[in-house]
Symmetry: C2
């Protein structure tokens, strides 16, 4: 039963017996609230203590599902503090994995995507339901003009979204200002050839203190969206930028591996990318796809896709964007697997193509268009 | 050999053979620099590619030490981008652990602690070489005045540092402004009884966008230092605040577990807390101590203590601050183990003490003073 004025978090924990599971659940509810021995807790603070709602064996041996409720006032309406309560000190324990939080956790604090899947489609003037195409502008080391020339070719090929590589930031070889100016212009030129809209998302990831002005610079230079690595720039930074509601944000998983690749700790990828990042306002969410050079399973990817789009706290659906080792020749299988409410990010396979970037991109977008809705 | 204009990173990787280790090292140097197939790399960007310096078997079977060098320009002088190169996308791979970065990685970008171990001793007017005492002000849920009363008792007991619990932020029960105002005054009152200086470090952790103004508010209200959870507020946020050089920063490990508790991935705790956080400007560094409710070994803790204090890029030594389940009765053993260039953080054991906070604190500080240098 849900308690008024409380939110509820669910963990999968590792324990040999119900008694051990109960001990660990007791530790969690204390660690994540008052963080002191209960026998020394003053009466005035007892309402702050987390409460165990349920402890149930999971389907897998030695794993238990534990739900704990916390009073809303613990977070003081602060998103960073909500994340602290979710997985702050217990990130230092082995055998605790975040699997869910109920709607009371998100409601009234998080806003979800400002644009999301539908908003990005609208910016693209796409009335059909075909899947979207995306690429990464790279490599770092090229000049602003060299990168812009590549952007122009992608746009001529009719790609939907060009995002900067997450390693392209503000290097001497191509400063942020020069690169974004040149690429915006190049994309507008390329669009005239394709007759289609192409969105350019420069990477604004930098110090949390500087990122807001870099975001504004991107907007002023005519960028259609931005790329952010939330785990590098600070998770709530994503939310702060989403609140501007100006242009869409594509979130990149760099530096987030420690939270999602371990079986017995961290977060389920579905919760972390699909719920938390969506709640924080990521309009499109890049994740490491199965079958490439990363290690998530197809089932996990399907769960993420679903979680990014299903009704959730009234938030806009986000655009799932699988990436990492997707080749033109694996796209047809992926289309069958993931369907059309998705954006496919292809990088290397387009750069390697013997016919060059423009023709490779055309082939890529034709694969998207050939997909039956 | 070190290459001019390059920095060098060292990883421990998991591989069954030299050939597999070489394949993974190849992946790392590409993933963390140009992130595209080498056969498609344009000539203008070949200088951006990471270079393998060495691949050597480690002392343990199936582990290899890999050193890779990257050109400085890749980071563009941006600390967030330096962290991205260190462990961005490869955080999503299994079997890669950051163990070191050479001085060229840090020099010219990071500043290290503004105060550090010595600066904090100076603020305390401590001419001796005795270890320092610290406690956490809690629990969340008490009013500002109730928390201040506890702070007064700790100060009367002669404690060196009172830091807010990292779960005490800006709750309705005790707003940031009211709490800090009341606690600063209470500590100043308590000091008059003890005749000793006590430093109060409120927790300023919040959204990266709001944290600078909260820091300034803390300074204006007379706080002696601040507590930050860098992994929640954004790693470079720590550096941005340290640059003000106004009051010391104590860094707290909340939400950092995913990076340090896993044997085969993440960072060694010694590198992560001892080098990276020190370089980012943490004056005192709280870490989860061995033997408490966390899982690091005594050897790991000794390595961290050492790494926080040894000569390193000309940075000030940081103050190692072990925490988590340290009790008054385990202090003597810890003193023998860790020595005097350290700060012991004791929370629950002082609140639980049958004689009350002030007497418990007195006992704690007497243990510190009795320690032979």
């Amino acid at each position: 039963m849900e308690r008024n004025g409380h939110f509820q978090l669910t963990y999968m924990i590792t324990a040999n017996s119900r008694s051990d599971a109960t001990k660990l659940a007791e530790s969690i509810r204390v660690e994540q609230s008052v963080e002191m021995p209960i026998d020394a807790l003053p009466a005035g603070a007892s309402r702050a203590l987390g409460e165990i709602v349920s402890i149930n064996p999971s389907n897998e041996e030695d794993f238990w599902m534990v739900s704990i409720s916390y009073p809303n006032f613990l977070a003081g309406g602060d998103i960073t503090q909500l994340i602290n309560i979710l997985y702050g000190n217990i990130s230092l324990y082995p055998g605790i994995k975040v699997v869910n939080a109920n709607d009371h956790y998100f409601n009234g604090h998080f806003n979800g995507p400002s644009f999301g899947l539908k908003g990005i489609r609208e910016l693209l003037n796409r009335k059909d339901q075909k899947p979207l195409s995306c690429t990464a502008l790279k490599p770092v080391g090229l000049s602003a003009n060299e990168l812009a020339e590549r952007a122009r070719l992608f746009a001529r090929g009719g790609i939907d979204i060009i995002k900067d590589d997450h390693g392209v930031t503000d290097q001497q070889s191509a400063s942020f200002h020069d690169r974004v100016s040149a690429c915006v212009q190049a994309v507008r030129t390329g669009e005239q050839h394709s007759g289609k809209k192409t969105l350019y998302f420069p990477n604004i990831t930098t110090s949390p203190v500087k990122i807001l002005s870099r975001f504004q610079e991107a907007v002023e230079l005519g960028a259609d969206g931005v790329l952010i690595c939330p785990q590098l720039a600070g998770l709530e930074t994503l939310h702060e930028i989403a609140k501007f509601n100006q242009i869409p944000i594509m979130a990149h998983p760099s530096f987030s591996g420690g939270y999602i690749i371990h079986k017995t700790s961290g977060f389920t990828p579905s919760f972390y990318y699909g719920k938390l990042w969506r709640a924080l306002g990521a309009d499109a969410i890049i994740y490491p796809n199965a079958g490439g050079r990363f290690t998530l399973s197809v089932d996990t990817c399907l769960e993420m896709n679903e979680q990014m789009r299903i009704p959730f706290c009234g938030f806009n659906p986000a655009l799932p964007t699988p990436a990492g080792g997707i080749h033109l020749n694996t796209i047809p299988d992926l289309l069958n697997l993931y369907g059309h409410e998705i954006c496919y990010l292809v990088g290397g396979s387009l750069y390697q193509h013997p016919s060059g970037i423009e023709k490779a991109t055309k082939q890529f977008t034709q694969l998207m268009e050939a997909h039956d809705e």
